[in-house]
């Protein structure tokens, strides 16, 4: 019995540590991949870091792209080494070599802390306070990961994972019923609303030559363009003199999607 409890305790801690290492390994792997891929591609949008860095540096009068390239390479190297050390820690943990896993983990943590600290310095220089908040949060999460990893054996001692049979059956039944209702609702909404993505919309006349267009949330640029085409076809004697986008402040909080007004006049 003692042996079984000890084994379970060990497993719960290892699983938790495995989760931390897996998160950071994937985090840096995908970040590194994003740098390798570059801009938006088929099946990968990512973030155009070259454009972002170039705009940051250009705002500080460093317009030569070589500076951006060097900065990106430096950051990528930190991210790649962070990825490799976290992955190494993951492999060591998988092989039950906990001491080595922890040593690799602290090196990965050091690379991660260095990366976010450098980003935070950049945020100060380029005046991006939102990114500063984001990077400080990540910096803190990194520190917290280390604490959680080191101390997980103290707060994770679940001895028995087996749930009562009755409750298991009831929970599975609940999951099935709720999932069916949810999926039915999603599919119904998709069938009813997906055409809104591209279809043009009708206007409401709000005054002489003053037209209102309320776009659904799903509408994209094609819907907007089709709306303009429809408007021009339906009103061949009118010319658009202005399109006004209702600002967020005048919308009914989150209930209104995009609303535009068209001002038109008779063609001369």
């Amino acid at each position: 019995m003692t042996t079984l409890e000890n084994k379970n305790t060990f497993n719960s801690t290892t699983l938790f540590r495995f989760g931390i290492l897996l998160y950071w390994s994937l985090f840096w792997l995908i970040n590194s991949l994003d740098k390798m891929i570059g801009g938006s591609q088929f099946l990968w949008v990512g973030k155009d870091r070259f454009a972002q860095f170039q705009r940051f540096f250009a705002s500080a009068s460093w317009e030569n792209p070589i500076i951006t390239n060097i900065a990106l390479i430096f950051v990528s190297a930190l991210e790649i080494f962070a990825f490799l050390f976290f992955t190494g820690a993951l492999i060591h943990l998988y092989k039950r070599n906990e001491d080595s896993s922890r040593s690799w983990f602290i090196v990965g943590i050091s690379f991660t802390l260095a990366t976010f600290s450098i980003f935070a310095i950049g945020d100060h220089i380029f005046g991006d306070r939102l990114e500063l908040l984001e990077h400080t949060l990540f910096w803190f999460i990194t520190l917290f990961s280390w604490v959680a990893f080191v101390h997980s054996d103290k707060f994770l001692n679940v001895h028995n994972y087996v749930l009562p049979k009755k409750q298991m059956t009831a929970s599975l039944l609940s999951i099935t019923v709720i999932a069916m209702v949810t999926h039915f609702s999603i599919i119904k909404h998709k069938n009813e609303a997906y055409h809104e993505r591209k279809d043009g919309i009708n206007y409401a006349l709000k005054g002489d030559d003053f037209y209102k267009f309320s776009f659904p949330f799903l509408a994209g640029s094609t819907s907007f363009e089709n709306t303009l085409i429809d408007f021009k076809q339906n009103n061949p004697k009118k010319r658009i003199i202005e399109i006004y986008t209702l600002p967020n402040e005048l919308r009914k909080q989150k209930a209104d999607g995009l609303i535009i007004y068209i001002l038109a006049e008779d063609k001369k």
Binding site: S32, K35, G38, G39, S40, V45, K47, D48, F50, A51, Q52, Q54, R55, F56, S59, A60, W62, P65, T68, N69, L72, I73, S76, F81, L84, G88, R102, S103, I106, I109, S110, S117, I121, H124, I125, F126, G127, R129, L133, T136, L137, F140, L143, F144, W146, V147, V150, H151, F215, F217, A219, G220, S221, F224, E225, L228, K232, I240, I241, E242
Partner: protein, 256 residues
């Protein structure tokens, strides 16, 4: 090196740099060459004007007070890091504690200001920073490793493999970065080509690198290429119309 020391050093270094740069941002006003920063004077003037206080003296005094506390923070962390490098644990802790205390006071003042001026987003931002500061202290002081473990990494075969893989991956990434940079840097200047989506209406999908220079070049080039058309109206497609994260900016030109 001890794991605990790495973590503590990272924490003190982060906050020393944070406050050092915040002070520098106050010393360097507005946008300069090599420094963008944030124009806190403008921000404070606008906040006070929204209260009905138009005299810039109040904004100046408030900014002076905030800067003084920031300098105090910076000096505390600086002395903490100096004592840390000398191995004086007791003095490091004392300076770090004082730094945390004055930083927490500053974020409390910021939060009061955010509530008075009705800026809820900044309130969230300052609340998060306040929480991270307190947690930093807790991590520094109480969450340290009781075993006081050293980093136990030898220059083994696996470390050599990691170094080699890291160098290869960095070289590959560098090639990709240079290739992408060469292919796309022209987007910072080249005019965007329009597409006629309806009679007399042209759509321009601007790339991420584009800025006002590209806009000016685009319009100028469009007018040169279409001398017969009269540009009557320019409309910027609102964000709601963009495919999330993929489109930078959509511009529509109306012509006759």
């Amino acid at each position: 090196m001890k794991e605990r020391k790495i973590i503590q050093f990272s924490i003190i270094l982060y906050w020393t740099t944070f406050w050092g740069l915040s002070v520098l941002d106050k010393i360097i006003p507005a946008v300069q060459k090599n420094w963008v920063g944030k124009d806190f004077f403008a921000l404070f003037v606008k906040f006070f004007e929204s209260l009905g206080i138009k005299d810039p003296l109040y904004a100046t005094i408030a900014l002076g007070l905030i800067s003084t506390i920031e300098i105090l923070n910076f000096v505390c962390y600086l002395f903490a890091i100096i004592n840390f490098s000398r191995g004086n644990t007791s003095l490091t802790e004392k300076w770090f504690y004082n730094g945390i205390l004055s930083s927490v006071v500053l974020f409390i003042l910021f939060s009061i200001g955010d509530q008075v001026f009705g800026d809820r987003f900044q309130l969230l931002e300052h609340g998060v920073f306040w929480m991270i500061l307190i947690a930093s202290w807790a991590l520094f002081k109480f969450a340290s490793d009781p075993e006081n473990r050293s980093v136990n990494l030898k220059f083994s075969k696996s470390i050599k493999l990691v170094l080699l893989s890291g160098i290869i991956l960095t070289v590959l990434t560098s090639i990709s970065i240079f290739k992408f940079s060469n292919e796309t840097f022209s987007n910072a200047l080249t005019p965007v080509q329009g597409k006629e989506i309806a009679d007399g209406i042209y759509k321009f999908d601007f790339p991420f690198l584009a800025d006002r220079i590209v806009l000016e070049n685009t319009i100028s080039s469009f007018k040169k290429e279409n001398p017969q058309l009269k540009l009557t109206y320019i409309y910027t497609g609102p964000n709601e119309l963009n495919s999330k994260k993929k489109t930078h900016i959509l511009l529509y030109l109306f012509t006759e």
